[in-house]
């Protein structure tokens, strides 16, 4: 089998502006949704209590809500989780709440409600001081990834490549966050991990293309920079599609079999992979071109022999 039978280099760079405009518009939309809707942060970030219970048969939600309200938790969110038999109760932190006993009291209340008996699946309680730290740690991790990747690429390639790669891939991160804001999917710690993993992963994509660019610069002396980029992208496109396809197969498997816990993790990866291909190939490369990458940066000028005539 051979999927990609490409006779000539595809002139990607001719449409560079179009790709970047598309990408810029998506980026703006993502920022817009992040600003207007905000992320639906999980209990790990906001602090609060989460109790997941499972019933032998689907329980009635309304009596449970009323019972919890009667126990002094009128702000409890009660919803189904995954199936109708699984229930998730969320409670925000309040100053006047005795935080350590909440989960027991909630369980007690659920058990007291008439109907099927609940089985405790999971409790998470996060105090207010932890959530803020997690958010700042996440930001620090993001910063470290950015600095690390820029420095590494600047050493291995050239600063123009480093800057283009990081711009292209950071906009992936914003787009993933934009999706989470638009659909109000729950943004939890595993999702954060997925987002940062995607950042590393899509930079890796740019690296493969850049590697080819460097090689082509060295090998083919007669090509101009846009043609070099076209050639590099065209000759790696088969690998790009197959690799991302394979990774996506794995992620799809997580999406299908991984259950609720891995659902949004896999979702973030899916968006990341799709936009990762697009941005690292079609956004990063034009950026490199516009920043003025050229052959001279890679081919060392030959030293002229200085022969002295005696």
């Amino acid at each position: 089998m051979e999927f990609f039978r490409i006779k000539k280099d595809i002139p990607f760079m001719r449409h560079a502006l179009v790709f970047n405009v598309i990408s810029f518009v998506t980026f703006l939309l993502a920022v817009f949704f992040l600003a207007t809707r905000g992320l639906h942060l999980s209990v790990e970030f906001t602090g609060g209590t989460l109790v997941e219970v499972s019933y032998a048969e689907a329980p009635q939600l309304e009596p449970i809500r009323q019972a919890l309200a009667a126990q002094g938790y009128p702000d409890a969110q009660v919803q189904n989780f995954g199936s109708a038999r699984d229930l998730l109760v969320r409670l925000p932190n309040r100053d006047d709440l005795d935080t350590t006993g909440v989960s027991e009291k909630v369980m007690g209340t659920l058990k007291a409600v008439a109907g099927p008996a609940p089985e405790l699946r999971r409790v998470e309680f996060v105090g207010p001081q932890v959530g803020k730290e997690l958010a700042s740690d996440g930001a620090m991790a993001l910063l470290l990834v950015i600095v690390g990747i820029v420095v590494y690429l600047a050493i291995r390639f050239e600063w123009r490549f480093a800057v283009s790669a990081i711009i292209a891939n950071l906009h992936d991160v914003i787009i993933i966050l934009g999706f989470f804001a638009f659909f109000q999917w729950e943004f939890s710690l595993p999702v954060l991990a997925a987002v940062l993993a995607v950042l590393g992963y899509s930079v890796n994509e740019s690296v493969v293309v850049f590697d080819r660019v460097r090689e082509t610069f060295k090998k083919k002396r007669n090509l101009a920079t846009p043609q070099v980029l076209d050639h590099a992208i065209t000759s790696t496109i088969s690998r790009t599609i197959i690799t991302h396809g394979s990774t996506q197969v794995m992620v799809l498997s997580m999406l299908l079999f991984g259950g609720e816990t891995l659902h949004y993790f896999a979702m973030a990866l899916t968006i990341g992979i799709c936009f990762g291909i697009y941005s690292s190939v079609l956004v990063a490369s034009p950026l490199v071109m516009w920043l003025g990458a050229s052959r001279e940066q890679f081919v060392k000028p030959k030293k002229e022999k200085e022969e002295a005539v005696v």
Partner: protein, 621 residues
């Protein structure tokens, strides 16, 4: 031409064999076991003698076991069924803890790997599953350091008072103000005497002068940075020891109690389902304080009316009347070495017998001598709220450090109080700031889900790779399997905690690792397309792809390391597996696949074509 030297083949072979051996224990599953470990910090467990006692106890009870294993801190016996396990637990409990009131050993139910003992003896253990996979409770506790500091300064205030009296320095009052202790003097001469006395007795205090008026000069004492650090370290260590003792009362097989950051403690109790009890025991951050009762006439009425006199606090005695207690602490729980429930020799009332250390005994003797006829209050401070356990009248001087508290207690209450005091009073109060409970059914489900995601993803990739790259794709799939094998072996060897995000990282790493083989295979095709001979194409393909693989893996690794450094909980679990997976994937994708390709093609003189799928050349159609 495509041949690895013998040593390289051998090395790769050995690494794979090692991977296989260390992965093996994961396939055996677990059998019921009973674990014996020490219940007291002071009691060191002697593995050999405990093993013998354990074997004897089982023999006498007529219970068959499947082997006894000892390590530095515990001895475990395996059993064929849970029924035997429960019977054995009772028998062992009786043999090791004849006095159930004061157990010396923790006898707990546990699960042990069913792998043969030769694997266990080379430390080949199954992966260490996190709480989200095996079920259990996780707590993050925050130690209240400002509280500990305030307490320390209160004690310092008392010490300084004693010091001034001993050295005959006249002062006009010693009080704690915020994070400082202020000593007032009438004149500078007394202040100099005071300064000298303090400097001679302790190095922990930094002294500064403040003159408010000619006859009101002050020494402002603050704890030095060094002393504060020592105090913090001590507070957290003391709390960890205390938690250990308390958790031992719960009988958990493998509790994890660790410091996290400067002022936090992580407690993980695998298999514990009774969260309420666990929390009750942990949450009882009781500290013991002995203070004097202010029985001056009229003051109590004044306090009840809402006007609490300076330097005192109003408390309710357990089940009794209100009481005015001085703020100054005579003695804290740190001075307590033991507390036992018992009975008063004369009245036969339930009582708690306390034993104090030497310094505590001295202070107690001095205080009781000076205050005969007065009342002293023993306070249990739980989560910032104090309760007067008892406020006995001092009848006579109490020396020798043996103290008995009795009065208005039931036997059960005496037991409770003794347990709390014995388990050690915490150096500083703690608060639960994070709690995670995972039920056992969810844990098992998470394992299945994680396993299925990885399995089906792997199968799909293997099928596609083989279809697309033929033999080379098959070799890539084998290399990917080798990657999984090595990753599992490495995780088993390091005993790194595997969580559900960890399994997700495993799946994701496999999905990403195939990239290296795709790069190689595409390169080989390209070389063939450009007219290279098969052998040259293999060599060039692997060589040229190497740089790219290295670059792309390092960028992924940078992200992984950032997650490892800044991540906590689930993110960390993800990052560990992700980083290790990148390392193993480099090995397997490059070396293992190359070795296999070399075995297949490298020895042949003449290779007509490579089974790498169809090579399409632009000129062909």
């Amino acid at each position: 031409m495509n041949r690895y030297p013998l040593w390289k083949n051998l090395l790769i072979g050995l690494v794979l064999l090692w991977g296989l051996i260390y992965t093996l224990p994961n396939f055996y599953g677990e059998v019921p076991a009973v674990q014996v470990s020490s219940a007291k910090a002071t009691l060191k467990l002697e593995p050999t003698t405990v093993t013998d006692r354990l074997a004897n106890a089982l023999k006498q009870a007529g219970i068959e076991h499947d082997g006894i294993f000892a390590d530095a801190t515990s001895v475990r016996a395996r059993f064929a069924s849970t029924d035997l396990q429960l019977r054995a637990k009772d028998a062992i409990e009786r043999a090791f803890n004849p006095n159930a009131q004061d157990p010396s050993y923790v006898v707990a139910l546990n699960l042990l790997s069913a792998s043969p003992s030769w694997l266990t003896s080379i430390h080949a253990l199954p992966m260490y599953l996190g709480l989200d996979l095996r079920g259990g409770v996780h707590f993050l506790l925050q130690v209240d350091m400002p509280g500990a500091l305030a307490k320390r300064l209160d004690a310092t205030t008392g010490d300084l008072r004693t010091l001034m009296r001993d050295k005959n320095v006249r002062h006009a009052g010693i009080t704690r103000e915020g994070n400082t202790v202020v000593v007032r003097f009438r004149d500078t001469a007394q202040r100099e005497a005071g300064r000298k006395a303090i400097q001679d007795s302790t190095q922990d205090l930094q002294l500064a002068d403040r003159d408010d008026a000619a006859d009101d000069v002050k020494l402002i004492a603050t704890l030095t940075a060094q002393a504060q650090k020592t105090m913090r370290d001590f507070a957290i260590k003391q709390n960890i020891t205390t938690l250990h003792n308390r958790i031992n009362e719960l009988g958990v097989a493998e509790p994890v109690i660790q410091q996290q950051g400067a002022d936090r403690i992580v407690v993980q109790l695998p298999g514990v389902q009774d969260v309420a009890k666990a929390k009750d025991i942990l949450g009882r951050t009781a500290t013991l304080e002995v203070r004097m009762v202010d029985d001056s006439p009229g003051l109590l009425e004044q306090a009840i009316a809402g006007n609490v006199p300076f330097g005192t606090e109003l408390y309710n005695e357990r089940g009794g009347s209100p009481l005015l207690v001085k703020k100054q602490v005579v003695l804290t729980g740190d001075r307590l070495t033991d507390a036992q429930p018992g009975f008063d020799g004369q009245t036969n009332e339930a009582a708690v017998h306390l034993t104090l250390d030497a310094a505590g005994a001295r202070i107690f003797r001095d205080v009781t001598r000076e205050s005969i006829g007065k009342r002293m209050a023993i306070l249990l401070i739980e989560k910032g709220k104090g309760e007067v356990v008892t406020a006995p009248v001092i009848r006579s001087e109490i020396g020798g450090g043996r103290v008995q508290i009795s009065g208005r207690m039931t036997t059960a209450e005496a037991n409770d109080v003794a347990l709390l005091l014995r388990a050690g009073s915490l150096a500083a109060p703690m608060e639960i700031i994070e709690e995670r409970t995972v039920g056992p059914s969810l844990g098992a489900e998470n394992i299945t889900k994680g396993f299925h995601s990885t399995l089906w993803g792997f199968v799909a990739i293997a099928i596609f790779m083989t279809a697309y790259y033929m033999l080379f794709g098959f070799v890539s799939s084998v290399a990917l399997a080798a990657n999984l094998l090595l990753l599992v072996a490495l995780l088993s060897l390091l005993q790194a905690t595997l969580t559900l995000p960890g399994i997700a990282a495993m799946a994701l790493t496999l999905g990403m690792a195939i990239d290296a083989n795709v790069l190689i295979n595409e390169r080989i095709r390209e070389e063939l397309r450009n007219g290279a001979t098969p052998q040259a194409a293999i060599a060039a393909g692997y060589d040229r792809a190497f740089d790219t693989i290295l670059d792309s893996n390092i960028t992924t690794l940078i992200a992984g390391i950032a997650l490892l450094v800044f991540g906590s909980g689930p993110v960390r679990g993800f990052a560990v597996v992700h980083c290790l997976g990148i390392l193993t994937s480099m090995f397997s994708a490059i070396l293992v696949s190359r070795m296999l390709i070399n075995f297949i093609y490298g020895r042949r003189r003449k290779v007509e074509s490579l089974a790498i799928g169809q090579i399409w050349k632009p000129g062909n159609n």
